[in-house]
Symmetry: C2
Subunit: 420 residues, 2 copies
């Protein structure tokens, strides 16, 4: 099955919004094993939209259109699709009721006349309820057996609708099933990670391994096409085991929805630890990332943002001598910051960061990008030196990711490996 | 002039990357007054890329292609464009020299045989030097007078090249000139801001006002089409003055490249102030944003991330009684946090944040999204209550933006309005 993704909306053509829908749907099609040859963005213009739909029907089996299902006159996707297919728009009473319910729930919002336009559907289409808005999704089959799916444009309506209803629908149409697992890696660069599995990727047919690079991380999706889920699982298993052998402790999770800060907070909770932070060059970003996790308040004691040497002395007990002798960006200062943040309290862990994010301040000996990260876990201090590349923003992001990862590996070393 | 944007790369079709290039170029075309009717993404496939170029030539005057200029066999954009136009690829000695220079600068990188592919250009094309990579841009004119521009895919190569060379080139082709100014607003919601200028937008012909919504901010671009820059400036001036009257102190800058944290840091430097921060629900994000500004270290004393009541008492001197009586999320606690962070030091300002980012912890009286922000400037404490909507992430982002804005307006009130 070959899909074409069509994004409708003049706001895309004017550059007012980034087209993240096309990216989302492309990823989902890849997961489903559906090929995607073209993505087209077109404005809210009847003639041009009609020509885009006709062209897509001539070269794809599945058209996914997003946007243009709203209540205003500008919203034309349903109307133009119906016209191209020579079908009528008819009122859908179930959808009309849902629109009334929606507005009853959202007290203060009034139904205007043009909202009823959203209760119209293309005759013969399958209606997909929208649990986060008023425009339903539509699945239309053409006489030639092609499928056109119309979805609302706002990502918070589109994504749940796709995940809950469209993904399973398309999955059923594919011969067999697709089974996939995810492995998330930190602490190894993208190109090194790819080199480490080049032989697996070169030789792969089924399952396939698809690497996705994120700042400081690499995610690997392993996907098998099979006739049943159980068969898929069995196909994926040896590949996952091989990857686990190769990346070992660099793997921080195999759960799709879990990210690095979730893992760190879960480890802290599991081992009944609290944490204090001491940040210099990241200026609060690392703690801000931990606080991303709902419920982080249970493990986070306090954080210190100590940019100046005075603050490092006053709040973290870094000795004046250490700062004088080794400088603020040094292994010794990082270690004392971590000790100071921990304050020798029991069940307390800490992380401390000091580095040069640039653009100014670098030297031959300590160039911009030099960062020391220290963790104190179970009374032991561990310091690592990093040499990051990139601009100020990138250096700070990489510091946050690698800091969280050092914390993760330190907790595991102290409380999980030692106790075995 | 009508443009079509063509993004080349299988990584877009697989959903591995978000197509930010199309967004960037669409915005630039809008600024230039060039209409954009279609955006197409296509993979590294000779036949399909050729068909996309042919279709675009039949319906647009200007084609901008991005991606596929790299050194590998997969990179086909130059080759396919030449074939469609029936032109040859020839070696360009200036580009060849630049490639050698590039690799000499990047010690450790070796020139491989396929790098010489990047020194080939389409005959008769204008070469645009790439100052951030090895693939030059190309401008090709067709026999029918249409223009095809080929640009490298990596945004850090594409954007500087476009801004420095392509934008002025296209601007010259347009009849007359485009002159535009920017106004950035904070503290007024998007829909309210739009309502406040609906009459101006409805009645506009030249100049035009284009609003762009960002989280917690609205940016207005005022663009005039004129025969000279001076005429453009004169056309834009009364509109900018009218907007300044309507939005007054909500405008935080009229400089394109300046953002809210830049403005705040500049104000602190200007008035010889230093700042301490005290964050609860934002957990370091606000300070992290300030530290975005290179040189922020000169004004930032220290930051406290005080999630727990104990930390608020210990490090910020919030009284136990206040926390007991009014709760951690209250006007009184925010004010005491700001006082505590300031520590009664001269020339010291502070900002304190306490709120409920959710998802848990809300009540009838204090629902999720309730945030108090306090600023202490020049010895005076100002506290504002906010009721934000959205998920945890959104509430925290809105808190950061509105906190920075409160700091900005407080410093202006204390040091600029009073002294007049």
């Amino acid at each position: 099955m070959i899909a074409e993704l069509i994004s409708v909306g003049t706001e895309i053509l004017l550059g007012n919004i980034v087209n993240t829908n096309a990216n989302y749907l492309a990823r989902k099609c890849a997961e489903l094993g559906i090929s995607n040859y073209y993505q087209v963005s077109v404005g809210d213009n009847e003639e041009r939209l009609a020509s885009v739909i006709k062209t897509a029907l001539s070269r794809a089996d599945l058209l996914i259109l997003t946007g243009g299902l709203g209540p205003t006159k500008d919203d034309l996707t349903k109307e133009v699709t119906a016209k191209v297919l020579n079908k009528k728009l008819i009122e859908h009473s179930h959808t009309k009721e849902r629109i009334i319910e929606y507005f009853t729930r959202k007290k203060g919002l009034e139904i205007t006349e043009n909202n009823w336009k959203q209760a119209l559907i293309i005759e013969g289409s399958t209606v997909v309820d929208n649990h986060n808005g008023t425009a339903p999704g539509l699945i239309v089959k053409t006489e030639e057996g092609k499928i056109i799916i119309l979805l609302p444009g706002p990502p918070n309506e589109l994504q749940p609708m796709f995940d809950m209803d469209i993904f399973p629908y398309l999955n059923k149409l594919q011969p067999g099933v697709l089974y996939s697992e995810m492995i998330k890696i930190c602490g190894i660069g993208e190109s090194k990670a790819e080199t480490m599995i080049q032989d697996l990727i070169d030789g792969q047919t089924n399952p396939t391994i698809a690497p996705y690079a994120k700042t400081g991380e690499v995610h690997l999706r392993i996907t098998a096409s099979a006739s049943t889920m159980v068969e898929g699982k069995n196909l994926v298993k040896p590949v996952v085991e091989e990857l686990e052998k190769r990346f070992s402790t660099h793997i921080y999770t195999n759960k799709e929805e879990e990210n690095l800060e979730d893992v760190v907070v879960n480890l802290l909770v599991k081992h009944n630890l609290t944490i204090s932070t001491a940040e210099s060059c990241t200026g609060g970003l690392l703690t801000g990332r931990l606080v991303n996790v709902p419920g982080a308040s249970a493990v986070l004691g306090e954080g210190f943002i100590t940019y100046s040497n005075e603050a490092k002395e006053k709040y973290l007990n870094v000795s004046h001598e250490t700062l004088e002798t080794y400088g603020a960006v040094s292994r010794e200062t990082a270690a004392e910051m971590a000790r100071g943040a921990c304050n020798n309290l029991k069940n307390k862990t800490s992380i401390a960061v000091t580095g040069l994010a640039g653009p100014g301040g670098g030297s031959e000996e300590k160039p911009v990008g030099t960062v020391y990260i220290a963790c104190m876990v179970n009374g032991h201090v561990k310091v690592e030196k990093y040499q990051f590349k990139g601009n100020r923003q990138k250096i700070r992001e990489l510091t946050v990711i690698n800091g969280l990862n050092l914390l993760r590996t330190s907790i595991i070393e102290e409380f999980e490996l030692n106790s075995n």
